[in-house]
Amino acid sequence: MSMIRRLLALDGVNVVCHFRDDGYLIEGYGLMSRNDMGRLAQFARDYRRMIQGNADQLAMFTNMRGWTPPRGWVVRGVTQSVCGVANLVCVVDSDGAPLNEILLELREVSHW
């Protein structure tokens, strides 16, 4: 079984995608069309680079350590949230999903 697929076994995880550095979808699982997974992958890649850019600037301006390189990001919506770690992105339920566990798992899987 694909390593990232096991993320879907966690409560509240609806979609999980793995993408290349250029944003191309490598594999995706869950309740979303292949087309939308491609868009999600592209968005996650762009968003990751934007976060990286902003974190670099924060570190540069404040001289504060511990922000870069950013490990990931979470955008929490009313019913759905999106979290990204490395080249992985997940769509999860905002209510009830064990976000801490999901982020830890994303981090672990991203190292494989």
Partner: protein, 118 residues
């Protein structure tokens, strides 16, 4: 850096630089320290990445909206302005520089720089 030299010769241009879309390489000319130019490159790269992402989102919403792919951006402060087209940035003194002239010149000179490397 022919374009950079031409820009530097224009009134009000304080400094001109180029940054790599990927990695942290940069080059510059004009009245900036090496450290300031490095910081300016980091900031310009970050904003260009953001603008590009926004352009792609627009394209996804409505194809052919006229914004995508972005050519550049301008931040206009009380005394200084930063103009960025493609991967070149230009720092201006507002009292002497013509933004229309600088943006027009950069758009023309850098029209063929493709965003493929972003």
């Amino acid at each position: 850096m022919g374009t950079a030299n031409d820009l530097l010769a224009k009134p009000g241009v304080i400094a001109v630089g180029e940054y790599a879309y990927r990695g942290d390489r940069f080059s510059y000319r004009g009245a900036l320290t090496e450290e300031y130019a490095r910081m300016a490159s980091i900031m310009c790269r970050a904003t260009t990445m953001g603008a590009n992402m926004e352009g792609a989102m627009f394209e996804a919403l409505r194809s052919g909206s006229g914004l995508h792919p972005p050519r550049g951006w301008v931040v206009h402060g009380p005394a200084h302005t930063v103009c960025v087209i493609a991967n070149m940035f230009c720092l201006l003194d507002n009292t002497k520089a013509s933004i229309n002239d600088i943006v027009g010149f950069m758009r023309k000179e850098l029209a063929n720089v493709t965003p493929d490397m972003i």
